[in-house]
Symmetry: C2
Subunit: 414 residues, 2 copies
């Protein structure tokens, strides 16, 4: 149980004037994050717990795919990137760079295909060593010109990036397709399944021989997608043209134009990068072949921002139960020992609780419970002490009812 | 169970020629880490598991102290550091710096007193809000001139840094002393308790009104301490002088000179930094007072390096059970289904296993088991299939014995 008197963060009525994004406004007001500068946020106890919960959900799916977790360095060796021509600012415009004391240039990791491919040269020799799947939850640094979407587009952000090294395109495509499904499992687990679409992407700095984006319909998104009214798919603005419509046997009237946020992307690099970097394997005839590379990203902090944008309402944050910092928000309005005993019983049923034990008005507690957004709220006051009735409120729907302790536990676990 | 055929890392007979530190040589040979450049390492699956295990042990102690986990940004706002005069390279010589697109200078976090103190200005107003304790496991970047100690002194490393904000020196000292004990609990849990000393430190870039180091006797250490032969304390080289000896009522002959590695440090900042940064609280008379600051660090990656240096032998790594990537290394020398069934039984007893199912010689498997350093090794071969006898070897002592499955589980759990 976390007592609010022991939580150092305070809620506030207004967000900083320079913060234009709704997600960051609410997260700052609720004390989940602190803005260090435009596009750079620190994550305070409640925000950190949300991030950890999202990571866990993503990690389960990556492990099911057979991927191993590693952690690469932020500091980047120039030579890894010159060989693929991604060091120059002309080719990659988001580098942060600095220098060692001896004047050697170093970069700060904005993505990790090159260093991971380089390290694989120490570990992949033969077709027997393939495939290899690795992923990490890594702090990326990108020198973005524009950073106005709160935690959805940052100069520093947490990304789950995964890399696949395969024998050939066939083996790659099996994993690529399995990853597509695994990503959708993540979005479904987060309650975003119905509004998230796999779309064909166009390039950017990544090779796009074969690549897809995962787009979640969201007013705060920076992208535009066209969602088919009935057929359950969507088309990215970049490729929404007569040729694509003809291929899909559809017309413009079949689609709704929507704002969307990219919550994941998957790329087929092919053999090009491994050829450039010299990552080869001996096939079963003893002939050297370049390894086939794929890369797969989910912006963890961005996903947290999208959850805020999609689920929050005018009263504050609304978290899905599996990412909420705590499942139950207890508004304590009595000093009776029954309050503590009841919370202990709830916790021993495996339900995590945030207990508002502060010396402030009931109204202030209710307002903060709405702002903080735990999925369930109960009030333990005079009525509870007298007759054991617990007032339960569901944050997302506003539904309120009187329940017993047993009913509460059953309802929250359902 | 982790099959070695599914682990992408390979062991190697020799370390890279440019790697002079024993810890990094072994960790690279065993596939735990990859060297990106001098003082910069990536952590591969086995190494990542060790880091996570060390973090867990440290985190338990920090939570017992009442500290909340957060994560600050790497990117640093110049203004947070100019106000305390720690921005200039003349005053702090380990900064990495870069620029935003609009030419604004940014730094990369080498420590976090300033940004955390700044964020506390949004959350601390009254004496009722104190004390506040926060910690993080954060990637620090330091532009070290010299980086020759493997993962023990890096340009990029993981640090557990904790910060305490107290009403006054009394409240601070209670926490400072509790932290000293918590740190010793960490070293004891890692098997370093007997060779780790709390010593009085001298400055560096930190204010040293009252500060201590935790020094572990270790030939690879960069520091010198003088260990009292019988009294269980040690003195740092910087303050090993006639005055100190007189104060301790000791003479030079009482001490052994030892190399040591600093595995932790704790600092009393006092009120100075909060005065500079404007972090004040209203006391119970309504008068503004500066907050009293302490900071507390444990280098997580350095600690991993020290564990290697202290416990490894000529055959390879030796891990304490609670940080080992897996508890048990199974050398599989038979395809009999009994092997898989036995591993399943071991795992269901809660013992994590690394299973060498590779198609290589028994000798190569034994050598790699020694190199990789899991605390317990068993061999499941012909003898096991025939009569159920399991050969158990303790990595640290070399002790070997024949055991039953029940005896094995009991021995490993002990």
């Amino acid at each position: 149980m976390q007592r609010m008197t022991q939580l150092f963060t305070k809620t506030r009525k207004t967000a900083p004037a320079d913060e234009v994004a709704m997600n960051a406004q609410l997260l700052i007001r609720a004390g989940y994050v602190h803005k260090e500068m435009a596009g750079v946020y620190s994550y305070l106890p409640l925000g950190y717990r949300v991030l950890q919960n999202i990571k866990k959900i993503v990690n389960v799916e990556m492990e099911k795919l057979g991927s191993s977790e590693i952690i690469m360095s932020t500091l980047q060796h120039k030579e890894n990137w010159t060989v693929t021509d991604r060091w120059s600012d002309a080719n990659v415009d988001v580098w942060f760079k600095s220098k060692l004391k001896n004047d050697t240039e170093v970069g700060f990791g904005w993505s990790h295909e090159e260093p991971i491919t380089n390290l694989m040269k120490s570990h992949i020799e033969s077709y027997k060593d393939l495939p290899v799947y690795v992923h990490q939850f890594q702090n990326k640094l990108r020198n973005e010109t524009r950073a106005k979407s709160g935690i959805m587009r940052c100069r520093e952000f947490v990304m789950k990036d995964m890399y696949s090294y395969s024998l050939n395109e066939d083996e790659h495509m099996k994993f690529y397709n399995a990853t597509t499904e695994a990503y959708m499992n993540v979005y479904r687990a987060l309650g975003l399944g119905q509004i998230t679409y796999v779309t064909s992407a166009s390039g950017g700095v990544f090779t796009d021989k074969f690549s897809h984006e995962f787009q979640t319909v969201c007013d705060a998104g920076e992208d535009i997608i066209y969602v088919h009214k009935t057929a359950g798919y969507a088309i990215n603005e970049e490729v929404y043209n007569p040729e694509t419509l003809a291929k899909m046997n559809a017309t413009e009237t079949d689609f709704d134009k929507k704002k969307a946020a990219e919550v994941g992307n998957i790329f087929t690099f092919g053999t090009g990068k491994c050829e450039q970097m010299g990552l080869v394997f001996k096939d079963n005839a003893g002939v050297s072949q370049p390894v086939f590379l794929g890369s797969y990203g989910i912006g963890i902090t961005r996903l947290m921002g999208v959850l805020v944008e999609v689920f929050a309402d005018e009263r504050g944050l609304v978290w899905p139960t599996n990412v909420a910092p705590y499942t139950l928000h207890v508004v304590g309005l009595s000093d009776d020992p029954k309050v503590g005993e009841t919370i202990a019983a709830i916790e021993s049923a495996g339900i995590s609780t945030l207990y508002d034990d502060r010396d402030v008005s009931a109204g202030a507690k209710f307002a903060d419970a709405d702002l903080l957004g735990m999925p369930y709220r109960i009030t333990l006051g005079k009525k509870f002490v007298e007759n054991g009735e617990i007032e339960l409120k569901i944050r997302a729907t506003g539904e309120e009812k009187l329940v017993t302790l047993e009913q509460l536990i059953a309802a929250v676990r359902a």
